[in-house]
């Protein structure tokens, strides 16, 4: 997803770009997530700022890219099931409000009103009515198609094996199918980013963090608002134990096809993308505790994906190593939400040869640009 977004914005500027994909378009984490384009889950700081900038791009994306990404604003409710979680939310909501996020603390009763499936014990929550969702696969594909239409080349089933460096500057990559010459090599390999980093002798502190999801049978009349337990944020914001499966409940209704996605876990389990029984069972138990009526629905399918976890947040732009090497990695559990802004920024970064375009400056300029203008060139 991140790679396709970068390619699109580069190609749109007339820069020749080739995406090299080991598998197929959208085969990684980008087809394994629940597609939340949320602000309520973001910790204030660069992650939130990126998310806000990205969220401004999303509503226009279907038109911009010319194919539907199923963008739906359904709102987002994060509930506290324990005192610790309640305290975390209380601190978070204040900071988010200060940063301009339209998020509100809500009572337990209001939580039940917002999503009547909630019948289990909750202490309260925070609600962000502007949070949205997309079909992650469709976004990835839309970027890929739009990139191709704008002149980008995308090589699928082609793995990068080595990166060529001459005189301290990258000269291209070697793949199973031959060499691709380039002035710039951008690492957008998601959870596999360290593997690419090693090719230029750079260590990236990115770890695969597994998340498992269960899909339920299509059912009519499911409430659309997304609900998740604040435990997910504790795992994400680093306040929970790094070990263990860190299962917290999440409910994402997909109104366009009637299904519900139940999540999720935050596990460090290497590159294993299989589902595990204890986590699947725990996801179901937590979902049933919060929303007992879900217990009667059928699970149809499950999957697992690898979040590209970075303790310090996304690593965008220059990353050490040879000249011409840049990264767009470490998006963790936010890569869907952050991909458009990441693409826009990396295109800017490359266009300026990596000079005079720090991320904060870039975001600052974007903010003053006219709203709704996506892909616009900050001056």
């Amino acid at each position: 997803m991140v790679g396709c977004a970068i390619a699109y914005y580069l190609a749109k500027r007339g820069i020749r770009v080739t995406v090299i994909e080991r598998s197929i378009v959208g085969s990684g984490a980008s087809s394994a997530n629940s597609g939340a384009i949320a602000l309520a889950t973001k910790k204030p700081g660069i992650a939130l700022e990126l998310a806000m900038a990205s969220q401004r791009l999303y509503p226009g994306l279907t038109t911009e890219l010319g194919s539907n990404v199923d963008y739906v604003v359904e709102g987002n409710l994060i509930v506290a099931e324990t005192e610790v979680e309640a305290a975390h939310l209380e601190a978070l909501v204040a900071d988010q409000q200060a940063a301009g996020v339209p998020v509100q603390p809500v009572s337990a009763a209001r939580c039940r009103e917002l999503n009547p499936l909630i019948e289990g014990r909750v202490l309260g929550g925070i609600h962000c009515p502007t949070d949205a969702q997309v079909d992650p696969f469709k976004v990835t594909r839309a970027y890929a198609n739009a990139a191709r239409n704008a002149g980008a080349e995308i090589l699928v089933r082609t793995g990068v094996e080595t990166i060529e460096v001459v005189g301290g500057r990258v000269r291209g990559v070697r793949t199973r199918r031959g060499a691709v010459r380039a002035q710039w090599v951008i690492n957008a390999a998601g959870a596999h980013a360290p593997e690419i980093g090693r090719m230029v002798g750079v260590t990236h502190e990115v770890l695969p963090r597994r998340g498992q999801i269960i899909v339920l049978e299509a059912t009519e009349g499911m409430p659309t608002i997304r609900v998740s337990g604040a435990g997910q944020l504790l795992a994400k914001h680093g306040a929970a134990a790094a070990g263990g499966a860190n299962v917290a409940p999440s409910y994402t209704s997909k109104p366009l096809n009637g299904t519900v996605l139940l999540g999720s876990s935050n596990e460090f389990a290497g590159y294993d993308t299989r589902n595990t029984l204890p986590v699947m069972a725990e996801i179901c138990r937590r979902a049933r505790n919060l929303m007992p009526r879900l217990g009667g629905l059928h699970a149809l399918r499950c999957w697992a994906g690898l979040r590209p976890y970075s303790a310090s947040g996304p690593l965008l732009g220059g990353a050490g190593g040879p000249d011409g090497y840049a990264t767009a990695i470490g998006h963790g559990g936010d890569g869907m939400a952050l991909a458009p802004i990441t693409g826009l920024y990396l295109a800017e970064y490359v266009a300026r040869e990596g000079r005079n375009c720090s991320l904060p400056d870039f975001l600052g300029v974007l903010k003053t640009a006219s709203p709704g203008e996506s892909g616009g060139r900050p001056t």
Partner: protein
């Protein structure tokens, strides 16, 4: 409530292959448990036959039935544990199967697993196949046998393969005589296989018996014709048939309209490999045996140690193959556990299997699926009924990025519904491969993820440690 069970050998599937495997393994001294999602052991084959005739007729005519009864009795005598109404829905660790009994989830641990999960019907769409009144042979068989309901009105059978004759026979017995049977292949095309018939006398007489029974009932069989379209207002009223060439391509100017209330149409079977794939067995594409089949060695052990595959799941071949191959797998699995199995018994089982497979392959070749049949899937024809995806959507997605069925699935949602692609999977693979002109291997198969069949969230939740 949860289920926990330990056994030497877990056999998944209580059809001929599974029962024969269980019997052989138990005979060699193994503790064997047979798991099957249905309430009655016997699998598709015996289940459908069990009520076919009254007892005297059974004794007179069809030794398959009596064999089914005998086999079941022998399995019980051998001390095999039969575990009906037990759905195997997943496997998360080597040597374990996740099961569901009613709403109670649980785990079965076994030193060896024998996958005898059978086959399901191959569906090939055509315009109008989704009209009420169009059914599969298996669907009709179940209706007639298990629910004692005869399909309504004028019944026409179409498609290809010996199962059509079996269904015709059931319909005749139920007093719902089909008007006509349209078989896509032609006896002339069969001739080149004739020499291979030598020696398979029992199977030949069985085939002749079916043929005679249908002829005696006055049901005509017309060869070399396929259904190209079904039509009707809200429900099926007529079908359009055309003569086809050896490749199954309709010959212009041969349209023929047949008034019909129930069309029963099928093109044979596909191995039910979901569990074998979930267990990690390597598969290869073998059209002759129905499609994707797990690879195995001489004793039916798959690429995953201690996982055996047998019967239809290892390649379509019919009940006789299943019986012979089941025995071989049972002996192989017992031997794998370190139990004594005489070399002579092993050799005999191997030989028997080869003989039966040879005939099975012959039948497969005679009724080989003609490629042209897929050409009837019009752009506007629904391919995935669960998610309402048309062939056009699939063809378009196929050309987008490197022709991969999982990409096609992501774009169109085909295969994401309640049946999880069991019905449309083969069609999506075939359409994808044809659209870009590459092989089935190249486009791959839908990824298999648990649960293999839908299971309740509450049942899964019960498995969690509080």
């Amino acid at each position: 409530m949860t289920v926990e069970l330990d056994t030497d050998i877990a056999v998944v599937g209580a059809g001929p292959a599974g029962l024969a495997a269980a019997l052989a393994a138990a005979g060699a001294g193994a503790r064997v448990t047979v798991l099957d999602e249905y309430p009655e052991p016997g699998g598709q084959f015996y289940k459908q036959l069990s009520s076919e005739f009254s007892v005297p007729e059974r004794a007179r005519l069809d030794d398959d039935y009596t064999k089914g009864d005998e086999l079941l009795a022998a399995v019980r005598d051998a001390g095999v544990t039969l575990s009906p109404e037990t759905l195997v829905w997943g496997s998360f660790e080597p040597g374990t199967l996740s099961v569901m009994q009613g709403h109670a989830a649980g785990t079965v641990r076994a030193r060896s697993i024998i996958v005898a999960s059978g086959a399901y019907e191959r569906v090939v769409a055509f315009p109008g196949w989704d009209l009420p009144g169009v059914m599969t042979p298996g669907g009709v068989q179940t209706l007639v046998k298990n629910q004692q309901v005869a399909p309504r009105g004028r019944i026409v059978l179409g498609g290809s393969g010996p199962f059509l004759l079996a269904v015709a026979k059931s319909l005749i017995a139920a007093g719902a005589k089909p008007a006509v049977i349209y078989e896509a292949t032609r006896p002339l095309e069969w001739l080149r296989h004739a020499p291979r018939l030598w020696g398979h006398w029992d199977r030949i007489s069985e085939a002749l018996h079916y043929r005679r029974l249908i002829a005696a009932a006055g049901v005509p069989v017309r060869f070399g014709r396929i259904v190209v379209r079904a039509e009707g207002d809200a429900r099926l009223e007529r079908v359009v048939l055309m003569e086809c060439d050896g490749e199954g391509r309709p010959i212009p100017g041969t349209e023929q309209i047949e008034r019909v209330d129930t069309l029963c149409i099928g093109y044979g079977f596909v191995p039910s490999v979901q569990l074998a794939r979930l267990l990690g067995c390597t598969h290869r594409y073998e059209l002759r045996r129905g499609g994707w089949v797990p690879e195995h060695n001489e004793e039916m052990e798959s690429s995953v140690p201690s996982v055996f595959v047998t019967g239809e799941v290892a390649g379509i071949g019919g009940a006789h193959v299943a019986l012979a191959e089941g025995r071989l797998a049972g002996l192989g699995a017992a031997r794998r556990l370190g139990l004594q199995v005489a070399d002579a018994a092993m050799a005999d089982a191997r030989q028997e299997r080869l003989t039966r497979r040879r005939f099975g392959d012959l039948v497969n070749d005679v009724f080989a699926l003609k490629p042209g049949v897929y050409d009837q899937i019009g752009d506007d024809t629904l391919v995935c009924r669960c998610e309402e995806v048309t062939a056009r959507q699939i063809r378009e997605a196929a050309t987008e990025w490197g022709a991969d069925v999982n990409f096609v699935k992501g774009v169109t949602r085909c295969g994401m519904g309640y049946c999880q692609g069991r019905v449309c999977g083969g069609m999506v693979e075939e359409l994808t491969a044809r659209t870009v002109g590459c092989s089935r291997e190249a486009v791959g198969a839908f990824r298999v993820r648990p649960p293999l069949k839908p299971v309740q969230v509450g049942s899964l939740a019960d498995l969690a440690r509080e």
